[in-house]
Symmetry: D3
Subunit: 243 residues, 6 copies
């Protein structure tokens, strides 16, 4: 099967890292296609950028011309998943939700450790809407920006490990979710430092997407995610070339 | 003061109706400016259209060149308010929230009566995120599309009245919120038929926006709605002309 | 229009301060009438005193002979608002609720900073009943009694500022509500010290009351706040003079 | 031991009925003293009357000159319990809470069947504040006023039985609480008709009060229910005679 | 009346201590019968042991040949109460729930202080299912195992007192529940050290069980706790002797 | 990999059906081993039988001598999953939870349609504890016993379809979970009749278990599910033969 793994920002190197991480857990017969939005911010660290990303992801998927079996939205705590579910027939998996529901199989409570403090409420809101917050012990910020994860990996590890330890010791988390699309390579270090299972959203989402495809299940079209009604829309879709 | 009242769809006649309704309750020294997005759907009835509207509203406000004191997002249950709060310094008021918190001063429980069934979950989600759902008795749909409110007002009144009565009798609502930006003119008929207070979101939002301005209060910039960090953004802002 | 702003305690100087604060934000054509209960405690700092205040406020309003357009109950976390809503036809606004719902337009979470620790549960209970607690980060106590706010303003500022800072830094509040009827003059100092918006309940309530009147809305009489049934009542109303 | 069972209304015959019901389950060495407020309404069916009752009960207890071991507030869904807890050292038991927590030992969910529809929100609010609402399936109204329970017992039985059946069949209640101080004599008929356990609040409260006394437990004075601070209070206590 | 007080572990000396504690508050005409499971762990400190205990308690009660009026399950946070309710006609009282609902009569919030940290989530889960968690300030662990309470009582007192103080000072608990079947003798010391009411679950449960019996109430058989349907069961009941 | 799929009842034909259903979605290199408890009820339809099953499943797994990679507890709404998580190092997946969290990827709300009405509260309780209830629209009962699903499949289809339709139309479910281990073969018929996605718990659990194994994740041993402490246990493990 073919899975589209769509980055939420315009940084192509991050798309590549995300796709590589996805491939590490994908089944042998699963092809991972990484997509980068044509417009938006080079990192998503707030609501404005996240709303841009919602459309950027929609556009990236709409512009992709080959068939595919499922779509993974590879941003943590971002807007847009509901829109994809409406316009697509294939399953859509948000990594925030995939991480949380995977973590809930592994321990009584989980925490999310993310980048900047300002993104904590976005993640909390996404978990609340998804109905996955009841067993969330905390969402903690490392204080590092998204792109610093790539540019200063050593400092990233230290900051994420420090907050993960706090999550375990103070908030009684038993599992840690890495709260950013580009954190997969920290998994081992954080696991070694804390002794608890570490869940990377992208990797979790790959297995969820494969599972839904294998089960023959996709988004219900009965109400919330019914296809958009036919109507006059201005300025969409964006032209697929030349922009 | 000057309030921007931004429609979420591209139907200019609806913008005019909304602005007229806003003017009916605005203070003498308040100027109401109705804005219509340059792109998006001619009515918002789902998540995809709502995400388009989130950017359409951001763009409409960004394109407006004069000073203003507050912004009202005149769509019921739509995405985007948090983005506006980040990029603007003036207060931002969403009509979904203005209606709900106004209704909560008037009765023990309130209901929302909206257009299509498919928009009910969007409104429920917005109220949940806003923390205004605890006293919401129900969100009910009349089954009419947004544009049918204008094209067939008599049928609209009947359908809204019927659902409002159900909300009062079955769900124990004591107040009804009209769940669409363009329903203000139904207020009187629904009130007469049900005997309970009817809250129109646009009108409520005008008084809330004026209140915040008069109190000298605006969005906290301390965390969630801090201004976007400086970064590279592609494709935004949209060119202000020629599109 | 004419608004009755009713103090919950018998300290006339506090009534005057509250009324002055209300006038500072009232519209030019709004007359603020401050009322002091004829009986009750000189400060409300607990349930017993608050229940006395519930009747004291009812009596003060019942004894007022002139017409008025709305009533503001100017006590934070006090009992009695529901009774006023039953017996009056005009809107009733509680400052606890006006502060909270105003704060919710300004930030993702808000905190209340009040006087004594023992009043914290009363405020929490009022917010829970009002359905305005979901985005309340914390209710914190300065440790000062109500009357100390007047007698030792410098110490009051320091204590309120200290707790407000804790609310912002530890509890992630983005807005602070001043949790006492007589704290309005602290607004500026607390705002300067914390950098977040500060909401005074009395001032917020004035704009809410004016808004409801302007919108032509008042308490729903359909169920919870229907007028009391005709019945035999002993000892009420209290004689309007000579007590 | 001696238990004060305080009616919330001024109808002495109801006080007698309540006291008789209490005696039917009291231990042999427990003396039941029924008290009737000196002022207030002849039945409590709304917030105004309930706030009067809060003070009426406080006054009735304050006026009682003999020693006693615990106080039962025998009104369903009424205000005032917190005030009693502050001013008294002995345990205070509210029948709304005693019924609910007794019912929770007996079935997965319980319902309350009360008098008028307008009192339903009061009961719901009391259960929410008491933290006893999570397993409440519904609060249903029979449509009969408090005093009709005495004046037309046959109709009362029919109405209560009808609503109890609905609670069991539609709301999945497994236990019914009789939601009024004066309903104890309906217990048998409702039980026979529905086949589920029926809890009368007064009777339940007697056993709770005896239990607390026997366990040597009383209200915590550490925070919420600490004794009122010394301060100037006007108009209280009421003169104990001549009124 | 005769109450079965069933220990959840196989340590007979603990059964004796529990029964003695129960007798200290039982009415003169109440006979307390302590039962020890024939199989299971010598202390319950986790889910596996608790599931063993669920059957061990069922077996102990099933093996008891004399008549009895109610059953108390004397383990804190343990599985099994719902099974007893199904197979028995007499009331069943779990000490976790009896302690919590007793505490709720005494203060605005309560905390539980238990043995090992690993049992905290079990207690939290039991309180959540019982719908008694809304006013639970915290569940805290002393770090001592169940059997250490007996073997090192002085250290037990110190550890429990230390956590109880934290519960009062940090978590704003106004009442402390002793979170283990064998803690009753600590009641006095903890009370003296904290100044708040201390609730022992076994003692509370005795008064609850007596109350239910006196009120003529028992488990509703209408739905959740209806008797098991007739069916083929293998390996149960266990042979009553020779094991 | 090898997955143990453990039936909760003693009916071997149901184990076979469950295992066959599991195999239908398992990966090519996954071996499904169906296990039947040595003791317990021939169907689980209540708490007593479910507590027996908790131990029956523990015993079945403990008696299995070969290596395995994960365990699926194939009972809907049953006790016992937490015990397995404590004693095992491999992942444990409960079908109730696997169905719910799979359904949550597919629609805004889901319902469960199960067998007897008396099992509804068990399922509701398991979903509440799992923190997966926020988006559960309803749990509905078909009125058929577990074994009737096998003995009268036509009637089963009709009853399940009827309740599924109610769930969609009245409760606004967008996805249906089949609430019994042995319902997988109804999937197609219910899907055809309702037009919404149908989730079978066993099949969903197979993909979840495979996903966890592939991700290298297993139960956190840091707190709740730490291995049982060394202690004296009587009567366990059961002898592995001769029973």
């Amino acid at each position: 099967m073919r899975l589209l793994v769509v980055n939420v920002n315009t940084t192509a190197s991050m798309t590549e890292a995300i796709a590589a991480s996805a491939r590490a857990v994908a089944s042998a017969d699963t092809e991972i296609i990484g997509l980068t939005p044509r417009f938006g911010a080079d990192s998503c660290e707030g609501n404005f950028e996240s709303y841009l990303a919602a459309l950027g992801v929609l556009d990236a998927v709409a512009s992709y011309q080959e068939p595919y079996d499922a779509v993974i939205q590879a941003g943590y705590g971002e807007h847009g998943r509901e829109g994809l579910q409406e316009v697509l027939d294939v399953p859509v998996v948000d990594i925030t939700e995939a991480a949380a529901s995977t973590a809930m199989y592994l321990g009584h409570k989980y925490s999310v450790v993310t980048t900047l403090d300002r993104t904590v409420p976005l993640i909390e809101d996404r978990l609340k809407l998804a109905g996955l917050d009841a067993r969330c012990a905390s969402v903690r910020a490392s204080g590092l920006g998204v792109l610093e994860l790539e540019s200063d990996p050593q400092r990233a590890v230290e900051a994420i490990v420090a907050q993960s330890r706090e999550a375990v010791e103070r908030d009684h988390a038993e599992v840690i979710c890495l709260g950013c699309g580009g954190m997969a390579e920290l998994e081992e270090a954080v696991s070694a430092a804390t002794g608890v299972p570490i869940v990377d959203g992208v990797r979790a989402a790959v297995t969820v997407a494969e599972s839904l495809v294998r089960l023959g299940l996709s988004t219900s079209k009965s109400r919330t995610y019914a296809p958009p009604r036919p109507k006059q829309i201005t300025g969409w879709p964006l032209p697929t070339s030349g922009r």
